[in-house]
Structure formats: structure tokens, C-alpha cells
């Protein structure tokens, strides 16, 4: 079920009413939200419910066993490692089997060896990367004694399946979301209103900015040869905002919906395009995934504590893993590698000499902001391209300076581009205005009439720009 669908418009109020009606009994309330979440997930394909239930069950049992055999360290370790291996194996089979088998076949054919691999017609279950990581983080945290094992299966299943963040994050840690599932929630008016505002803002980013940009981006990427460098340049910038609007919009909707249920999810994006350097970008973009990789990959590998050479390797490993997490294509791996190269100067500079931007973003830092934006946009070209060849062709064409002219868009595309630019300007303006806020955007001060006008305008604008069959980009991960 998509957030931007008629089904969800009916689903959400019904679940909201049912959830708060069952407020007095926590177990029943959790069971209700769990079942509602499975309905939400199963709307795509009910057959994959088996997979998420299996992952949840394995992690739940692992937590219990780790706790039970904690005194026998090797048993606890064995359970933890087994859970990690089994869940990653499931993820790898569904996500990477065809990629690796085809890549190996291609590599062998380069040496003149032809193989007839069996590539399987595997459908990627929606959200598998997200809920698998969420489930794994639980068992690892239990093993590390960071959280106690959960003995409430209903709360645990609700924690993994919680529908707002199930298919595209934020990837929650048990220490935040599970704890809330185990505790009583009460309806708070201000939190619910805040949630509605965040939902409206999320839809604006997704529908008005991301989906509008997608029209141009999809057209350009479908025929790079036909479009001139100006069109490609515009499309590259648009894709940067498309992926941001799409993903952060989804996160805003997820966080806003969770607030309606009295649940606080972690912030997943913190104005990443106002980053003044690449390391700061990675503190602001897809925060939940980056924290996951730092906690469960970078630090266990030694982090930055084992010398410069090891730090390089660990950093490279994390970026490559992050790239691969996004999908089964070499473009994602190269994208990860690209960012690791941009990140390396940060490792080389000694801590005492590092210029760490402070929390307050100032206009005079616009140079750094623009450079960081340009660098990430180049990375997004690699990310968006179907293959490395296409990415190279795209970037190469951008440097054909003598061919820059007015973009060869047709009338409809020009109009769409103008609408998109307007939406992007509004997005940047509002985010700049709120750049130093820690909570939800304040789109209008204390004047309630102004607030009403602004939010109703956002809702109407999003409604009018609504397009059918527009999924979220990160669903494919």
C-alpha cells in the first residue's frame, strides 16, 4: 500500500480510530497495530508476509536465546551470528543472487569461459533491506547488552512490522521503537497535530517536488543521446531533488503518521543539501542507515582506532556496503566508492586541524554548500544511471560546454520544469528558514490564519499535483 493512494486514505483513519479505541489494553493495541501493519504490507503481495514474519520470529527467538545463554558466551555468540547469517542470506538471495551470478558469468566470459548460469526470476520483497536491518540491530544490541531481550512477542512483532516505517525506514533501533511499543502510549493533541503538519510537508516534498522532477528525469534518462547538455544538467539537479523529496518526504510522512499513534521515530534527514562538506552530508542524509552501518560495521571493524590504513579500509568497506545495500547494480557500488573517495580527505586531516561546521548554518558558507551539492549531484548521476556506461556518457556530455544552449524540452516538459523549479524554490526557502530548528518546520509563526492558509495550500497543491502510479524510489531497495 502506498502512502499516496486512495487505499491509504481509507486505511489510515480506520487504523487510527481502532488503535486509540483499544488504548486501554496495551497487548490488544499492539496486536491491532501489528495486524494492520501486515495488511499494509500484504497489500503489495501477501506472499511475502511469510518472509517478514520469519525474519521477525528468528530475531525474537535469537534475543530470548542470547539472553538465556548469556553465561555461556559461545552459545550466545553462536545464536547471534546464526541469526545474522540467516537473515543476511535471505536478503542476499532475494536481492543479490541474480546480480552476483550474472556478474560472475560476465567476468568469466571476459576470459573466454562461457557458463550457463541459472538466473532466477526473483521478485524483490518490498522493504526487505529495511526490516532485515532493523531485526538484526535488535539481536546485536541484545548480545551487546545494550538492551534487554524482549519477552513480549506481540510488542516485538509490532516493533518490526510497524507500518509507517516498515518499507522505507527510518531504520529504528529497539532502544527507541521497541521500548515505546512495550510502554503505554497516550494521545497527545499537539503531537498529533505536529504529525499532520509533517505528513502534509512530506506529501509536498514527494508529490510536488519529487514526482514533478521525475517526469523530466525519466524522459532525459530514457534518451540521453537526444537531449542536449543543458537538459542533462537540469535533469541532474532535478534528480538530486527528486531523490531527496522522495525519500525525505517518505520519512516525513512515516514520522508524521507515527506521531498520530503516539510514537516518536528518529529523524532520518537533517537538511542534507545545506551540508558544508561531504562528511557533514553523511551526518544529515539517511541518518538511520548511516548510524546502523557505523554501529554494526564500522565500529566492529575497528573504526578509526587501529591506524590510518585500517581507517581507510573500514571507511571504504562501509561506503561500499552502503552502496550495495541500495541495490544489485555496479552503479550503486561505484556510487559508494565515489563517496568514500570524497570522504577520505576528512580522514587525512588531523582532528585538531579539522574544521567542523558548527550547528548553525550561515549564508556566508554558501560556497561550501554549493560545492557539496555539486559533488553529491555527480554521485547521484552514477546512482540513477542504469549502468556504468550510461553514467559515464551522461557525465561526459555535461562537459560538452560548446553544446550548451536552451534545453531541448518540448512545451509540456518546459512547463513541468518551471513548476518543478518553483516547487524546489519553495522547498529550499522553507528549509532555509527552518535550518536551525530542531523540531518540525514552522511554516508560519504564531498567526493561526496564516498557518491554516499555508497548510491548506500545501495540501491542495499536493492534491492537484498528485499522479497515479508514482511509487517511492527507496521501495526498490
Amino acid at each position: 500500500m502506498l502512502f499516496n493512494s486512495l487505499e491509504f486514505l481509507i486505511f489510515l483513519p480506520l487504523v487510527f480510530i481502532g488503535y486509540w479505541t483499544l488504548q486501554k489494553n496495551l497487548k490488544v493495541q499492539n496486536l491491532f497495530i501489528c495486524l494492520a501493519s501486515y495488511i499494509f504490507y500484504g497489500w503489495w503481495d501477501y506472499k511475502f508476509l511469510f518472509l517478514i514474519i520469519l525474519t521477525t520470529f528468528l530475531s525474537y527467538i535469537s534475543g530470548i536465546l542470547i539472553d538465556k545463554y548469556r553465561q555461556k558466551g559461545c552459545v550466545a555468540k553462536f545464536v547471534n551470528v546464526s541469526n545474522i547469517i540467516v537473515n543476511l542470506l535471505i536478503l542476499c538471495i532475494f536481492k543479490y543472487y541474480n546480480f552476483f551470478s550474472q556478474s560472475l558469468a560476465d567476468a568469466l566470459s571476459a576470459f573466454g569461459i562461457t557458463v550457463d548460469w541459472v538466473t532466477l526470476d526473483i521478485i524483490l520483497p518490498v522493504g526487505i533491506s529495511f526490516y532485515t536491518f532493523q531485526a538484526l540491530s535488535y539481536s546485536i544490541d541484545v548480545y551487546r547488552k545494550e538492551i534487554p531481550a524482549c519477552k513480549d512477542p506481540i510488542a516485538f512483532f509490532a516493533f518490526i512490522a510497524f507500518f509507517p516505517q516498515l518499507v522505507a525506514g527510518p531504520i529504528e533501533r529497539a532502544g527507541n521503537l521497541l521500548v515505546q511499543m512495550q510502554g503505554k502510549r497516550s494521545f497527545e493533541y499537539s503531537q498529533a497535530i505536529d504529525g499532520c503538519k509533517q505528513i502534509a510537508w512530506g506529501f509536498f516534498k514527494k508529490i510536488v517536488v519529487a514526482d514533478t522532477a521525475a517526469t523530466i528525469v525519466d524522459a532525459v534518462y530514457s534518451d540521453i543521446v537526444y537531449y542536449n547538455p543543458t537538459a542533462l544538467f537540469i535533469s541532474a539537479v532535478f534528480f538530486s531533488f527528486q531523490i531527496y523529496g522522495d525519500f525525505s518526504g517518505y520519512s516525513d510522512i512515516a514520522i508524521g503518521v507515527a506521531k498520530l499513534f503516539g510514537i516518536r521515530l528518529i529523524k532520518n534527514f537533517d537538511l542534507p543539501y545545506f551540508s558544508r562538506n561531504i562528511p557533514e552530508f553523511w551526518k544529515r542524509w539517511h541518518i538511520s542507515l548511516n548510524k546502523w552501518f557505523i554501529s554494526y560495521l564500522y565500529i566492529p571493524l575497528g573504526g578509526s582506532r587501529k591506524g590510518l590504513k585500517r581507517t581507510f579500509i573500514n571507511t571504504l568497506t562501509v561506503f561500499l556496503a552502503s552502496g550495495l545495500w541500495h541495490g544489485a547494480n555496479w552503479t550503486f557500488v561505484i556510487w559508494g566508492l565515489y563517496h568514500s573517495i570524497l570522504f577520505i580527505p576528512n580522514i587525512l586531516i588531523k582532528s585538531k586541524n579539522k574544521i567542523i561546521p558548527d550547528a548553525t548554518i550561515r549564508f556566508k558558507e554558501i560556497g561550501g554548500i554549493i560545492i557539496t551539492f555539486v559533488l553529491t549531484t555527480i554521485g547521484w548521476i552514477i546512482f540513477r544511471s542504469a549502468n556504468i556506461h550510461e553514467a559515464c556518457a551522461y557525465i561526459y556530455k555535461l562537459f560538452e560546454f560548446k553544446n550548451y544552449a536552451l534545453p531541448n524540452f518540448n512545451d509540456v516538459q518546459l512547463r513541468t520544469a518551471a513548476e518543478c523549479i518553483f516547487g524546489i524554490i519553495i522547498l529550499i526557502a522553507i528549509e532555509w528558514y527552518n535550518r536551525n530548528e530542531t523540531e518540525t518546520y514552522r511554516l508560519a509563526g504564531r498567526c493561526s490564519i496564516a498557518r491554516w492558509i499555508i497548510y491548506i495550500t500545501l495540501i491542495l497543491w499536493s492534491f492537484i499535483f498528485f499522479k497515479t502510479n508514482q511509487t517511492f524510489i527507496y521501495f526498490q531497495f
Binding site: 493533541y189 499532520c196 534518451d223 518540448n410 497515479t468
Partner: protein, 310 residues
């Protein structure tokens, strides 16, 4: 909680009221392309209309013919009923079937996409014609109604965009307007223009789309129904540009074979109506003047052979 419900309810009410106001205050473009459908319907519904050759399809048909050539060669009235594939072939066929008379020769050239996924149930243009006729569309199924609901935002948006465009560029003429057609219903406004060029999706055969067997069965039923009422039905493949033909191979082969298997073989192979890019105006289905003339001469040749044989 009550305070929350009240606030959300009020916001929803204000939003719905404003949307309804926008729908009524910003109507469909007075010069809009879809308005031509009303004219085409009136051409077919005229009381003393003689049996005619009726060309049916989407914009591929609207752009596809110089009907005067057909009219002069076949000595029959011609009505070009093609307008927009976005109506969905179900609407097109349902709409057509209420106007046919005994003796009509119906030449159907549907874009291949209609037989896959839910294309046959329409896109935004179905919402346009729905609101244009104030909801008086008969025989809409659930999928079509869903299409209208889901495309209502796009309908509103297009009207607002057109209003702003008309205010800012009052002299701008588009070929996609209701006065771009001749007396037969062919689009002719582009005949004096250079072809604009268009992008093709990257070459390489795509995987076959998911066939819509429910619609295919419905389509075959409607064809039989029209035949039983005295019309002659001819299935003519849509003219398509070379790269488009290559890209759509799996879908084209499927449609060709399933129609043949059900006794509705295309009157000529789809490969016979593939033309080079210089015959097209702004898309792989939209012929320019030269292409329309060539296609019209081709269909005349086919019709003569057909009538001779039958």
C-alpha cells in the same frame, strides 16, 4: 481527541470545498483538444447519416489519415473518430458502438498498449471527457471510475496550467486544440509544420507487458456485437515508427497472434505499416502530412482488395 477530530474534519472540509470550487471555476480549456470528441460524436449521431467508413483508435488515427483521399477513392463518407488513446479503448469502443449503423465500415487501429495492463480503462483524458460531459458517460466499469477519481487531480492541474498559459501567452497556438481538425475529423494543423522531432526510448526489445485478458475478451465481444448490427469490422495495425516498432516487438507479436487466434487477424501484418522517422510529427504514432497521405493510400489499396475479395 475530540478537538483533534474537529480540527482534522474542518481542514478536510475546507480542502474539499476549495477543490470543488476549483473544479467548477476553472473548467476545461475552451479550446481544449478533448472537446473535439463532442464534435466527432455529433458527426456519427447525425440523424440522416449515410453508412460511412469510420476510422477508430487514438491520436494515432487522428494524425494518421488524410480522409479526403479515402473518401474520394472509396466513394463513401469518412469519419475520423480517433482522438486520444488516453480515453482507453474500452471507452472508445463503447462510445462508438452507440452510433454505428448498418453498412458502416469500421477500421480499428488501436495502439498496442491498450491490450496490456490497464491502459484500456483510460488515463487522464477519460477524466477530461467525464467532467466535460458532466459525468454522463455510460457503461463505465470500476477500473474506469477509479481512473476518473485518480486523474481528477491531473484534470484540475491541467486546467489551471492552461488558464495561466492562456493568460500569459494569449497568442500561442497549439496543434492540440479543437480547431486543429478538418471536416472529416483528421488533425491537419500540423501539416504545414516541420516535424518537431521526438525522443525514442533506448532501443532494445522490452519484456512483454502483462496482457489484459479481461479487456481482450470484452473487445472481441464488442466487435462481434457491432458486426451483428450490420457493420463491417476491419482491424488495421497502427502505423508506428521504426524504433518504436522494434522496442515494442514482444507486445506487437502478442497482439497480432491473439487477434488472429480469435478470428480477428489484422488485415495486413503490423510490419507493413512501419515507417521511418521522417514520416512522423512529434511521436512514434503521430504521422505528418506525408505519412498521413502514404497511410491513406495504403488503406485504400487494402480496402479495395478486401471489398473485391468479399
Amino acid at each position: 481527541m475530540k478537538k483533534f477530530y474537529k480540527k482534522i474534519g474542518l481542514a478536510a472540509l475546507v480542502t474539499v470545498v476549495l477543490l470543488l470550487l476549483i473544479i467548477f471555476l476553472v473548467p476545461y480549456n475552451p479550446k481544449g483538444y478533448i472537446r473535439e470528441q463532442i464534435i466527432k460524436q455529433s458527426m456519427l449521431s447525425a440523424e440522416n447519416r449515410k453508412p460511412a467508413i469510420i476510422l477508430v483508435g487514438g491520436s494515432n488515427v487522428a494524425f494518421g489519415y488524410d480522409s479526403k483521399i479515402i473518401c474520394d477513392s472509396m466513394n463513401m463518407d469518412v469519419v475520423n473518430f480517433g482522438l486520444h488513446a488516453g480515453f482507453g479503448l474500452k471507452y472508445i469502443i463503447d462510445d462508438l458502438s452507440q452510433y454505428i449503423k448498418k453498412g458502416d465500415v469500421i477500421i480499428i487501429s488501436p495502439e498496442y498498449a491498450h491490450f496490456f495492463d490497464k491502459m484500456a480503462y483510460g488515463e487522464k483524458p477519460l477524466a477530461d471527457i467525464f467532467y466535460l460531459t458532466k459525468g454522463k458517460l455510460n457503461n463505465l466499469n470500476d477500473e474506469q471510475l477509479r481512473c476518473v477519481v485518480y486523474n481528477t487531480p491531473a484534470y484540475i492541474r491541467a486546467n489551471i496550467e492552461q488558464l495561466i498559459t492562456n493568460l500569459l501567452f494569449s497568442n500561442k497556438n497549439s496543434i492540440y486544440q479543437w480547431d486543429s481538425f478538418n471536416e472529416y475529423g483528421d488533425i491537419v494543423a500540423h501539416w504545414s509544420k516541420e516535424h518537431t522531432g521526438f525522443s525514442n526510448p533506448s532501443s532494445g526489445r522490452t519484456k512483454r507487458s502483462s496482457a489484459n485478458y479481461d479487456f481482450i475478451n470484452y473487445f472481441l465481444f464488442k466487435l462481434s456485437d457491432m458486426e451483428s448490427r450490420g457493420a463491417t469490422i476491419i482491424l488495421y495495425p497502427p502505423v508506428i515508427e521504426e524504433t518504436g516498432y522494434s522496442n515494442k516487438q514482444p507486445d506487437i507479436l502478442f497482439v497480432d497472434s491473439i487477434m488472429a487466434a480469435n478470428g480477428r487477424k489484422f488485415i495486413c501484418p503490423p510490419s507493413d505499416v512501419v515507417m521511418p522517422k521522417n514520416r512522423f510529427f512529434d511521436s512514434e504514432y503521430h504521422l505528418n502530412r506525408g505519412g498521413a497521405k502514404e497511410n491513406s493510400l495504403h488503406i485504400v489499396e487494402i480496402l479495395k482488395k478486401y471489398f473485391l475479395a468479399n
